[in-house]
Amino acid sequence: MVKGLLCAVLLLITINGHAETWPDQEWAKGTPLTGPALEALDAYAFAPRDDATRQGIRTDALLVIRDGKVIYERYAAPTSASTPHLTWSVSKSLMACVLGVAYGDNRFKLSDPVARFYPPMKQHPTVTMADLLHWASGLDWQEDYEFAPLKSSVVAMLYTRGRADMAEFAANSDTFSAPGRAFRYSSGDSNLLSAALKGMLGHKAYMSYPWDALFTPLGIRNATWETDADETFVASSYAYLTARDLARVGLLMARDGRWKDQQLLPRDWVAFNRQAFGNYKAGQDEATPGGHWWLNQGTPRPWPDAPADTFAALGHWGQALYVMPEQRLVIVRYGDDRDGSYRHNELLKRVLAAVQP
């Protein structure tokens, strides 16, 4: 009896293993979406584009993967399937994946002080890796982009006072709160993570680490990750991937950090990514922060029409990688939205309507 059960379980695992589709050089093609729900999705994502006023929803790329197969893919010129598109703050979640590999190699613990790996953080000796991953360093950071360019820490970091050494610029910030107590979205926190990784690995290994640890194992061949003058990857903003390659990261996350037979990211790392930061107050941002990923958790849910297990990497001007493990869906959306009219929930709602059998 027990033997029989065991055989049945083994058989099930084997069948599942064989049924699982993974991208090889290229993605496999599934049955393409059709019907009125697809038209509604197209109408929302690819509304006629006004390049003079740059108003409205301006999607550059939309790619939907189900069960590891492409079921929808569309681009707006000049973006194409081979364009390594700027991901802006999606880069932050990519850095979380890269750090996940280092975490699996026991390079650091979540409770480690950042100063152990990055000496300029001795100014803030109690800030931990987990605090940075939660955007809860307590550093006094102003994230506004266009609306407050004078006071914006991000603009100063990327283009003026901070650009030679972005992590040091962030480390030199004042504090507004004790570490780990309050959420404040900060590109500075993300670049401190990048500098901490450099400290763990040493400069030489660090310079190829995103490729060695993440991109190459996933079959990503065209990734660019820009660095500051101190050769620290700009983890806050400057990773470039094709939509198809970003979807590989989505599939990795949808399958709990596993790529084919290899557990690339430890399962407890992905669980940390997907666990809401406890001191986040509803409404502080457009979604609930986890460990350098955005979660559809809380009351009300940030995206009520999407399942509660949805999580995402989000970036400026409409960049997004959405993952829905239960639905076995990965969605990449690149955009050039210059106003706030694009809605994550609306896009997800229409994708979900279009993929219903």
Partner: protein, 104 residues
């Protein structure tokens, strides 16, 4: 003084407040004019040489409400220079993996 010259007093008070603010924000104010040239040079460079978009598209892509006074894209050196608000910045493409970076 305040009663006899209410407007002059108010003006002096506002001027004092303004000077206080300028002093308080001196670091930010000094860096501010660099933004448009640095932004334009860096983001055009990446648009053109990392994402491989056409030049005309990238010019539109980096356009902001502040104008640039000069712009030069040197495809032979993959180097982009932009000027605005009296400051000039250059970004250069370094390679496939490292993309573009502003020159120091």
């Amino acid at each position: 003084m305040i009663r006899r010259r209410p407007f002059t007093s108010l003006f002096l008070l506002l001027l004092l407040a303004l000077l206080g603010w300028v002093w308080h924000e001196r670091v930010n104010l000094q860096a501010f004019p660099d933004i448009i040239a640095a932004y334009t040079a860096k983001e055009y460079c990446s648009c053109r040489y990392v994402a491989n978009n056409p030049a005309a598209y990238c010019l539109g892509y980096v356009k902001q409400y502040l104008p640039t006074s000069a712009f030069n894209d040197n495809p032979l050196r993959s180097e982009v220079t932009a000027s605005g608000l009296g400051r000039t910045h250059t970004a250069r493409w370094l390679g496939e993996r490292q993309g573009c970076r502003l020159n120091p």
